[in-house]
Chain length 227, copies 6
């Protein structure tokens, strides 16, 4: 039995807010990739997650445990949508622990998850999944395609990085120089990437086809080095 290499992909929840045109792209790309790789895919919750969390707050939910859990549930709904689209190629439900991921990996071509536990971003889930399966690279379809040296919305001269260390990125995020910085990635996910030597490659979420450039040795976004 030929053993396939494993690609780990994180898809921002925003990709599910855009409607079928973008999801169709993702589905087509995942199918193509699944012929040459095992795929581990982590989906975010997007606007719907925020809507349900707001609704929960409005009806009196204050516990972060429950608010997080609702967000996780939406991200799993997005995961299920992708699973359904894989025409039998995928493990038939969102994996809910890393142990389930590893158990199913030997006989599944595509595995998809949303969040795993409260208090942890889907970015962290993606890095942990990469760590568990022994992948060295995480392909990260994110709301912005690059890390910039300042907020590109406010500064016309903001410059994108081709490469940046995770340590430096943490400093930038701490200074809140980026818009929607949470949407990009959080410290915990970066720390874990560093400890396990996992490089994160940003790709703008509206152009998922750029992953083929990345697989061909090009650099279509920012590479976050695990240093």
């Amino acid at each position: 039995m030929m053993v396939l290499n494993t690609l780990v992909l994180k898809i921002t929840g925003k990709a599910f807010d855009e409607g079928p045109w973008l999801l169709e792209k993702y589905v087509s790309i995942l199918k193509t990739l699944s012929e040459k790789y095992k795929l581990v895919v982590i989906t975010g919750g997007g606007r719907l997650a925020r809507h349900y969390i707001d609704m929960a707050r409005n009806i009196g939910v204050v516990s972060n445990y429950w608010l997080d859990l609702i967000g996780i549930d939406v991200s799993r709904l997005n995961a299920l949508l992708l699973i359904a689209s894989m025409e039998g190629r995928a493990y038939p439900k969102p994996y809910e622990s890393l142990s389930e991921l590893l158990s199913a990996l030997p006989y599944s071509n595509v595995l998809v998850a949303g969040g795993l536990i409260p208090g942890q971003s889907t970015a962290s889930v993606a890095v942990q999944s990469a760590e568990a399966v022994g992948a060295r690279v995480l392909y990260y379809f994110s709301a912005i395609g690059y890390v910039y040296d300042k907020d590109p919305v406010k500064h016309v001269d903001a410059q994108p990085f081709k490469e940046i260390t995770a340590t430096r990125l943490k400093e930038i995020l701490a200074q809140k120089q980026l818009p929607g910085e949470y949407a990009l990635i959080d410290d915990k996910a970066l720390d874990m990437a560093v400890r396990s030597g996992i490089e994160i490659r940003l790709i703008f979420f509206k152009h998922p086809e750029k992953i083929f450039e990345s697989l061909n040795g090009l650099n279509p976004g920012t590479r976050i080095l695990p240093e």
Copy 2:
């Protein structure tokens, strides 16, 4: 330990489409009821379920198994929202089988589920749950508050029934004399109600407080008799 009676309630998915004002009502009513009864609550998927199912179709999903599963997942998201709002009174996740319902019943004040398996409506889940816990009545917060003798949208002289047998209702549904008849209830759910002698009491979903009338012996909607 005083044993509480068990109420089984079905809440149409539409209740989750209206925004917080209506959900707040439900939350408040459920909290009040939970002081005197054990509650088993079944939630529908509503507009969001249809949206995700449409999205799935748009990206190529044709299998009814998967489309149903996506609908179930949304109904469970709604169930989780209610669970979160119960401030620790509820079993902490949507129950996913009748066996789980019965296992958790002795130590849970409120149990909430969405759909259970593909090919089965949440109305059927509600009747089955009533059967499993031995309840004789199902309170049914539905998109319409009454069964009518003809389509009330088209016929100004349509008359609501105070009572109707399940058998007669099946005939009416078969003649498609009702608008959105699926949204009301399906044959399978009615058959199961008949076999186990469960009366279904319709209550208009925008007036959930009418359940107190029903508990006080009044009849604020249509009673569907298990005959």
Copy 3:
């Protein structure tokens, strides 16, 4: 890895009432088929199920939930008997949900189930299993080998159908023109077959070897078309 086609087979519980001579036939046929196909097999409960349900009624059980559960348990016992006979080819326990079926399908050559949930016939389980694995045909080893135009026990001129639509069969079943009609198939199973385009091929349960005729393009019983 060559991917095998999947055959879905329903075996009436009566097959387990006849003693080893008939079961040996089934075991031999399943082993032969498992060399060319993945097999999904659904077993009924037969006389033993009725005996235990009667015994339950006699000791005071009235809830349909529990009576159904006992019937399911017997059908699973029959499933386990077949699993044990497969000499390691089979998934080692009756699958208890469609999700478990799909999870195990990639690495199992033979999967066997009895009933899944109360309120649902094993015929429905068979159709749902076919739907979940994407099969277009359900081979149905049933107590009678054909659908007839009238009760063949009472009418010597009763004619068997070579083909019949599911819709027409529902009408015949509604008129109770068939003996032991429940034993054949129920409305819910037929509805689900129609919605997912699954053809049901009846084969008389005492001649399971006729499935080879059916696989070779012949028609040894009645074909129930999903229309």
Copy 4:
């Protein structure tokens, strides 16, 4: 919350071969006992277990693992029958591990199991269950009501013991002086009773009401002392 004492009861599979008259007795006694005690009940497989194991052998099953598993499944079917008869008092499925027993104990009045794992008799399950819940006595409704000093079928002067040590009973069993001695109890179960100081009180299975004598300090069968 008043904590109830826990009684552990083993019921031979033969009790399920006699038909409803005897089972009704057991059901009535269990209901009565459940008002004053928590009950842990272990059921055997009886004639049906032997029938299915024979059938399995006849269709080619040789592995003891699978033959045992079939026997366990029948004993669980018997367990389910008792659970169904308890009218909601019982944990709703046969417990399948001692961990499940202990998890469910705090909120269940009646817990029922058949076999747990291949290679282990239901007698051993009963002793282990007693050990897990900390009970000092196992009430044992068995095919014979007494241990005799020789085979009472062959010897008219055979004398029943009022008390016997487990060690002495092992010697008697080793000499095969008893009819159907396996049906009584096996060495492993006795060893475990000794190590944990559990007394086994035999009661003839056709007179389950004699347990009340035993609970009142009388000795209606043989007491097997854990020495």
Copy 5:
């Protein structure tokens, strides 16, 4: 049923390295507390965890996923030891997810866990557990009894804090002014305490009886305020 308040307690793994004299103290205190409170207890891995992780490294394990998992397993072994000592008062296995914690909470007097998932300290598990059960205080039996303004091993004039904000503690930890600072607490745990308003009360692990002072309104260690 009187509802008990819930105390959440974290016990450093070092407590398991000292031998029975200290564990006996903990067991006695937990039993006493369990008469007035529900207890949620989180145990660390201690020296044994480090020993097994070292052994794993020595035989070639490099993945942090697996090294963390081994550490978690040891912390669960310590959890099991406490569970065993609770004489039936405790949920009978270490809970492995927050959902399991919440499911078991209504009917368990004592719940114990070690680590939950790789990449997360047992300190984080403790804060998350407090968040999930809605506790406002975490009692934290740690290797050092106070936070100091400088390393007390190197500086004789180091002063202990009676109170410190979590934010300030993070700065101190960042400057590595404390010995064995990891053993105290990590940033992620502190962040989560802040977001959910959970105060952490340090108690020196060799004097667990000081928790009674704390419960009586005294302050026997450092209070870490969620600010």
Copy 6:
């Protein structure tokens, strides 16, 4: 897909007491074997198990159920250590039942377990695992490399057996002629080996490489014949 033969191996807990030099040997041998065989490995608890059981006794645990459970937990910790060392070849957690073993067998190259249930030695687990997977031989890395005719520690003229029947070995063990006889094997494990025709091949645990001799038809220890 070429089907691999399955080897079942029992490793005494003592192998984990010796430090990395010996474990490295085992890891290397398991990796080599896993290229030609499927491996099922059962690990004991060793000195650490005894230490934790002693600690439990010292803090007041008297129930054999709990003491056994602690021993099982340590044996599973040793199992996890081996799993971690297999670099992704192994099923990712200790299997906890024979059903889990059989479910995972088709897609796992290496499966590892410690104990399964209280009241059962890891030797019994090994024999049962062999029975479940249909293996005829159990390779048994034990604290002593041979069965002797008398205690070799006390008698300089003690002679090792090249072969011995399980029945004869039981007699020798009953006479307690062997040192640490429990550490060798218990009656229950031998009984089960006999009933299922499983030969046990002793190999001295400090020389695990001798398994290659055994696989090549030599006899580096004592063969325990299932008679």
